[in-house]
Symmetry: D2
Subunit: 162 residues, 4 copies
């Protein structure tokens, strides 16, 4: 059961730049994380963009959608910044593709020792194998349908919409 993994950036992949002292995007850490998890499911990784999700445009979201539609795989994981993850989930969800798509990310960059990234990646790759077609957000052990999830920015957690 091959899985397609699309990378869009987000906290997940931010790196500390020693020269500027700032958090930047360089290469993705996803391959390294799959190795650390000793992942034995075939995962085809492709980087679509490397952006902070606050800067993701409508065109960017359409690009993600296009790639999900065009992918040969029926099961797709998308790594994404948390701030607008639910917006992209909505764009994908409304397209009603005959696929299982799981968006995930991290509250803390993987490059930090204290990151939830590896936990979330293991989670997303599992939900995507087990769930029926649909679009989901998998964060911190929970999985939400795309039309019933919101990020609580004060608490930094995802929760059902009210």
């Amino acid at each position: 059961m091959a899985i397609r993994l699309f990378i869009t950036g987000g906290t997940f992949d931010k790196t500390y730049d020693e020269i500027s002292g700032r958090l930047l995007f360089k290469d993705t850490h996803v391959q390294e994380m799959l190795q650390l998890g000793r992942c034995r499911v075939p995962v085809e990784v492709r980087t679509l963009m490397m952006v902070d999700s606050l800067e993701m445009t409508d065109a960017d979201r359409q690009l993600v959608l296009q790639n999900c539609r065009a992918a040969n795989e029926e099961r797709i994981v998308v790594t994404h910044g948390t701030d607008t993850m639910t917006d992209t989930a909505r764009v994908l969800g409304e397209a009603s593709l005959p696929k299982t798509i799981v968006l995930t990310g991290a509250m803390v960059p993987y490059a930090f020792g204290s990151s939830d990234g590896l936990f979330n990646l293991g989670s997303a790759l599992s939900f995507v194998q087990a769930l029926p077609h649909g679009v989901y957000v998998a964060m911190n052990g929970r999985c939400f349908a795309w039309d019933d999830v919101a990020k609580n920015r004060e608490l930094g957690i995802f929760e059902p919409r009210r």
Copy 2:
């Protein structure tokens, strides 16, 4: 959807002892791992034993079974050493409890920087929420039914039985 998590020890929880220079069991790392993963699913953790799975007896396996049967939760994760994980899965599987039970573990102790433990824990907690009743082994991104899995000890991986 509350999840019960039973700890039995295994590589997952081995710790380096500075005085003896050996790998021992002290406290479990599972609570720390749930915190690192910022796990937002309610998980009730209980340590049943702390053993190397090569030393797990039939009585130990019956104890695991008893606890799975007695648990209020319908969804149960069991952390377990990899060497005899499939044996315990068989004992649980043959009991045909009306529950979803996922066994998981790690190839490398969590206390090592290079552990797959956090990835596997995220994975097991996700499969247990998404799969129908039954007993499963979740390791390194894959999930196997209890009656179709074996550990390949030469390669150190789990695979379907032949």
Copy 3:
């Protein structure tokens, strides 16, 4: 041989804030680092400030100097942001205190897995014990006298002045 350790902040102690997605100062990591290094030299730690060294004022530097002067210990380590570490070293150096003072820091926050902080802390605590009175900058295995060191901001390294 008791050592006094003054904390001023800097990259060393920056932490990722999950809510804002930014690098901030919270508590210092120095105690945790001393524990990790299983440091057996008595070290008295005191936080003087928690600032980015680009924002350190003349008054701040005078405060550091005052504290170095007033300390009972003859051997003092100061953790400091790298950008103006040499400026503070100059203020301390020109005061010609009868003490050995070593400034150190990190190119990457300790909270990142890839930090040089622990290496530098081990180094600074060693140079401060072994060197004669004077003010020094210890970074990345090298030790410079306060009046012969500059930070090369393009390369992100410390080097002798030319």
Copy 4:
């Protein structure tokens, strides 16, 4: 000021073997540690052996001595298991070479997240630059002359002899 670094193995360099579930020697981690510390002092690394120090023979110690004598560098760090570090220090010390030699190691393997190795390496590379000719043991922030040090095996610390 070039430094020679001889590797002999010890806890420092032990690695967890996923297949056997045991601590073994594979490659040294020293190069990786020097990179992590962003070490800017020229260090010439050479692996002499990869052994548990409890298994180090007299011939092994003579080999270390020979290499210290033959090295072009006047400043030498030797990584070593902690159990017999003071024995090797004695062999080197009694040879009275016109060099500064510092032995160091770790209480916990570097491959563990909780290792003191990086701290000790930073420390040893600093003491070796700052101290006069002689043979020393540098562990956990302290530095001992070869003829005034013993390992307290119950506490797992080094201390002056009584």
